[in-house]
Each structure stands twice: as structure tokens, then as C-alpha cells.
């Protein structure tokens, strides 16, 4: 079993590192998008799968990260890494403010609050022309070089170079969330999800933990969005719209909310599914809706959950 995990991990590393070597610009671009969504979904699932809070407004933080990074690159003329980290931190700060209000309520009220705040950010992005560029958004964001001590300024204009940057940042973000999830803090979050009342009676200040989870989730989602700004060289208000908020929800459900790998697998599946559907029809929203229906009605554990509960035991029986 462990050997299998090592082999899979190694294979995955090889595939990830080797993507730019295919020479196909399209694959590199797609891979970046998958990495970004997997980070976005991982951040989202820290809040949903582990803490039990369903947010319908997470695009607000994704977009905030993107806008902040864009502005830093355009006006503060910072190099790539500080700009991206600055975007992520801005999203976390916004998360602190929004989360402070949202975690006071649970279940339906929490979800609706996140929806309200999410749309508020969208409305702001749309209306505040002087800062966000209105419905045109930010245009002409430079993909500034990555300055590292000892190595100087590494040019990121080549898509492949930027891909490796995204890969490293995504890996770092995912690693961070993984550490959190397996830590005492992560265990407490799951306790809160399972039984909030019991958690209080274990001495846990539930609201504070929820807020911490919320802020961490926003940091990660903001980081994902921050990496998109230099990729596309533009950021538009649609990045904050509720349809964008739906992406990590779908990806996570597809992959499986109850496992750590779920959002990662789900992000890959999301794009594969999207590509597949777009080959056949332009109405991919429709089919995503259908897939979501199927997941909610029958496959609540997602693909990973299905694999763990149906495929693995069957395999074990065959092998023993």
C-alpha cells in the first residue's frame, strides 16, 4: 500500500515536471489552470470538508488576490513573488473582516452571508472604476521577473517558466494546508464540523477556530487568484462573480470533500470534463449542473470517495 503511494507520487511528480517538455503551449496553459483551481479548491475545502462551512462567495477572495497582485505589479512595480504573496495576504485580510461577520452564523445563514459578501465584492469591483478599472478590469499587468536572492531576476515571460513558478507555489500552498489538516488545529476543526456543541464542551472557542479556518482558506484561495493576474495580464470583475465561486465547489464535490486529495483530483476532473463537454456542445453549464445533481444524489464522496469505498475494497478482495 505504501509502495503504491510512493509510486503514484513519483509518477505524479514526473508528469508535473515534464509538462512543459511536451512543447505544446496549450497543455502548459491548461496545466497552470488546473494547478490554480486545485489550490483554490483545496483552500475552499479546508472550510467546507474539514470545518463544515459551505461558502458560496469564495471567488471574492480569489478575485481580491488577483486584483491586489495586479495593482502591486502595475503600480508598485514589485517583483513577482512579493506581488503574489501580497495578493494572498490581502485576500486573507479581507477574509478576516468578512469572516468575522460570517462565522457568527452557521449553516444556511452562513452560506447566504458568504453569498452576500461575495456579490458585494463583485459589485465593488464593477463600480469602483478608479481602482479596479470597472467592468474593463485591470489591463496590462506585467508578468514581472521573479527575483530570488543569489539568482537575480528570472524572466517569466516564457509560459514554461511561469508554469514552474505556479507549480512551486501550488505545491507550497497544498503542503501548508496538508500540515494544517493533520495538525491538532485541523483535528479540532473536524470536531467543530462533527458536533459544534460537543466542541464547546471540549473547551474550544468555536467561533475563533472557525475564523482562523476562514482566514486560512481565504489566504490559499487568494494565492490561487494572485497567480492568475500575471498569467492573463488582466483581471476582470467576473473573477468575483458567483459563477466563479461555483468552480471550487464543483471541483471539490467531483473529487470528494472527505479526503485531502479530493479537491486536487477534482480540479483535474473539472477541466477534463469541461474540455470533453466543450468538444460536443457549448452548453457545458448544463452538463455541469447534471454532474452536480448526480454527485449530490448518489456520489457524495466524489470520485475519491467512490474509489475508497468501492474500488479499493474490491481490489483488496481480489488480491487477497
Amino acid at each position: 500500500m505504501r509502495a503504491l503511494q510512493w509510486i503514484l507520487g513519483l509518477g505524479l511528480a514526473i508528469v508535473l515536471l515534464g509538462v512543459p517538455l511536451t512543447g505544446e503551449r496549450f497543455y502548459v496553459y491548461l496545466a497552470i489552470q488546473i494547478l490554480v483551481l486545485s489550490l483554490f479548491a483545496t483552500g475552499f475545502n479546508l472550510l467546507f470538508g474539514y470545518t463544515g462551512l459551505l461558502s458560496f462567495g469564495h471567488a471574492a477572495f480569489y478575485a481580491s488576490g488577483a486584483y491586489a497582485t495586479g495593482l502591486l505589479l502595475m503600480h508598485a512595480r514589485l517583483s513577482l513573488l512579493p506581488s503574489v504573496l501580497g495578493g494572498a495576504l490581502f485576500a486573507a485580510a479581507l477574509g478576516l473582516v468578512v469572516g468575522f461577520f460570517c462565522v457568527r452564523r452557521t449553516r444556511i445563514y452562513f452560506s447566504m452571508l458568504t453569498l452576500a459578501f461575495g456579490m458585494m465584492v463583485y459589485a465593488l469591483a464593477f463600480d469602483w472604476r478608479s481602482v479596479t478599472g470597472g467592468d474593463d478590469g485591470l489591463i496590462g499587468i506585467p508578468r514581472s521577473p521573479l527575483w530570488l536572492p543569489g539568482l537575480g531576476a528570472l524572466q517569466m515571460t516564457a509560459l514554461s517558466a511561469y508554469y514552474y513558478f505556479v507549480l512551486v507555489m501550488t505545491a507550497a500552498g497544498v503542503w501548508l494546508v496538508r500540515r494544517v489538516v493533520y495538525s491538532p488545529f485541523g483535528l479540532v476543526l473536524q470536531g467543530i464540523r462533527e458536533n459544534e456543541n460537543r466542541a464547546s464542551f471540549a473547551g474550544i472557542p468555536v467561533r475563533r477556530y472557525r475564523l482562523a479556518a476562514f482566514v486560512t482558506s481565504c489566504l490559499i484561495s487568494g494565492l490561487a487568484g494572485a497567480m492568475v493576474a500575471p498569467l492573463e495580464n488582466t483581471v476582470a470583475p467576473t473573477a468575483a462573480h458567483w459563477t466563479k465561486s461555483a468552480e471550487p465547489v464543483l471541483a471539490t464535490l467531483l473529487g470528494g470533500i472527505h479526503s485531502f486529495a479530493g479537491p486536487l483530483v477534482g480540479a483535474l476532473l473539472f477541466y477534463l470534463l469541461q474540455e470533453l463537454i466543450e468538444q460536443v456542445t457549448e452548453y457545458w453549464l448544463l452538463w455541469f449542473g447534471v454532474v452536480l445533481l448526480a454527485l449530490v444524489l448518489g456520489f457524495r464522496g466524489g470520485v475519491v470517495g467512490y474509489f475508497q469505498h468501492h474500488v479499493l475494497p474490491a481490489l483488496r478482495r481480489r488480491l487477497s
Binding site: L54, R105, I108, A116, L285, L286, G289, L297, R300
Partner: protein
């Protein structure tokens, strides 16, 4: 100046009555079934599209369209409740939300596929066209019609829920599902009926809107958020609250448009968030 204020207030009230018609259905469904139907805006949109088709394509009068379209949507609503929502009553609320969310996606594309992505519109029905001078400005007669319809609908709903056998049964089932079942009420069937009725209400709102609002695939989103805001502010599940909430939002929208158009969009979300934070049971709800 004062006249402008009053006039804008009237504009706000007519907006409010549209909102009321849409959110009444949402509120009823939540109050009785406990389900927050994200797809309610989509049903509203379907009402508009069916009505539009009836008028523009089949050539029937606006009134026939208004009568028929919501009935079709009620059937759609019944289908959704019977075969999908019924399966998720007993699991985590998050999945109910996700299920109805899935329908938003489905309907958005279905509508685009069948009717095309462009904006459509239909003319105001004869007899209600034109404008009346009120306070020195022209105010559309059609809006006055809707403004009259709103309170009528409220009255009708009240009568239905308070005075009829069906209404009383619905209220009993809303209060205690199991008890109602125990005394012989066919609760699943009743719930389907309520869902259909709520969908019908939303669709009426949609169909009524065709003469003055453009019919487009994006309309579901705008209205669902506003309907949520209304429902939350009035108190989720509380019809009286939804009525007052609609008036509030309608006025906020109208005055916001006039005095602070930059933040017009954001105002409503801010109000909604404020209520959710400060008094989640809304103005008229009772605290849990």
C-alpha cells in the same frame, strides 16, 4: 424636490411589488419545506420565457400568456420537487443548497439553448400601455397595475393560508411534519403541492415582468439574489416579513439609484449582510 422624493418612492413601490411576487414563492417554500430554493430565480425566469413565447411566438394575448406560463412552470417545479428535492430532505442542508444550485446551471443553459442568448422583450398589453401623469411626471400605467396586484396577491395568500382547509393543513405540516403525517396528512404530496404553488407565484412575477424587463438568460441571477435579500430581511419563511422586506428593498433600490448610483448594487447586499449579522431571523422572524 419633495415631489421627486415621492415620485421615486412610487418607483420604489412598483419595484417592490415585483420583488414581492417573486420572493413570496421563495418564502413560502422555505417556510413550509425548509428548503432554500436557489433555483427560484430560474423558475421566475422560466415564467418570463414561457410568457414571452406565448405572446411573441404563439401570438396569444398577454393575459392568456400570464395565465398559462406560470402553470407550466408549476409543473416544472413539481417535477423538481418530486424527483430531486424529495431525496435530500433528510441529509445535510449543504446538499440541498447544492442541488438547487445545480438547477440554476441547468436552467441557465436550457434557456439559452431553446430561446437563444439574446435579449427579448414583449409589448405592454393594450389597455395598460401609456403613462399617467403623477406629480408632474409620467408614470407607466402598467406599473400601477403591478402595484395594485401586489397587495391583492398578499391578501389572496393570507386568505388562502388562514381561511382555507388547504392553507391550514399546510401551516400544520410546516410546524410539525411528523405530527401532520401521523394524523393522516399526505405530507410528501402536500409538499409537492406547496413547491408547485411557490413556483407558480415566482413564475407569475416573471411573466408579469415581460413588458417592462428584458428577458435574458442572465435575469435569474439578478432576481434570485434580490429575492434572497428580501426573504432574509423579512425573516426566512415569514410571508408578512417578505412583503415588508420587498417594500424596503424596492425603496432602497429606487433611492439608491437616484442618490448614490455608484453603490446601488452594493446597497442591497450590505443590507442583506447586515440583517444576517445582526438579526438573522429577520424583522419578523422569531429567534431560534
Amino acid at each position: 424636490m419633495f415631489e421627486q422624493l415621492l415620485f421615486q418612492g412610487l418607483v420604489g413601490l412598483s419595484l417592490a411589488m415585483y420583488l414581492w411576487l417573486v420572493s413570496a414563492g421563495l418564502t413560502l417554500i422555505f417556510g413550509v419545506l425548509g428548503v432554500l430554493n436557489f433555483a427560484h430565480g430560474s423558475l421566475y425566469m422560466l415564467g418570463a420565457y414561457f410568457g414571452y413565447s406565448a405572446v411573441r411566438v404563439l401570438g396569444v394575448s398577454f393575459w392568456v400568456g400570464l395565465a398559462v406560463a406560470p402553470l407550466l412552470v408549476a409543473l416544472v417545479g413539481g417535477f423538481i420537487e418530486r424527483f430531486f428535492i424529495r431525496r435530500v430532505y433528510h441529509i445535510d442542508v449543504a446538499y440541498q443548497l447544492l442541488l438547487t444550485f445545480a438547477f440554476i446551471l441547468i436552467f441557465a443553459d436550457l434557456v439559452k439553448w431553446y430561446w437563444g442568448p439574446i435579449y427579448q422583450s414583449a409589448p405592454v398589453p393594450a389597455g395598460l400601455s401609456g403613462a399617467l401623469p403623477i406629480l408632474g411626471r409620467p408614470f407607466p400605467v402598467y406599473n400601477l397595475f403591478v402595484m395594485a396586484l401586489g397587495p391583492l396577491a398578499a391578501l389572496g395568500l393570507w386568505l388562502l393560508l388562514e381561511k382555507t382547509w388547504w392553507g391550514r393543513t399546510v401551516r400544520a405540516a410546516a410546524g410539525d411534519r411528523e405530527m401532520a403525517g401521523a394524523i393522516g396528512v399526505n405530507v410528501p404530496q402536500l409538499f409537492t403541492g406547496v413547491f408547485m404553488f411557490g413556483s407558480w407565484l415566482g413564475a407569475v412575477g416573471g411573466a408579469l415582468g415581460i413588458p417592462i424587463r428584458t428577458v435574458s438568460p442572465g435575469m435569474a441571477e439578478d432576481y434570485i439574489i434580490q429575492a434572497f435579500a428580501v426573504a432574509v430581511i423579512g425573516g426566512l419563511g415569514n410571508l408578512k416579513g417578505a412583503f415588508i422586506g420587498s417594500v424596503l428593498i424596492g425603496l432602497v433600490n429606487a433611492y439608491g439609484h437616484l442618490y448614490a448610483p455608484v453603490f446601488e448594487l452594493a446597497f442591497m447586499y450590505i443590507l442583506m449582510a447586515a440583517i444576517l449579522i445582526l438579526r438573522p431571523q429577520g424583522i419578523f422572524g422569531t429567534s431560534q
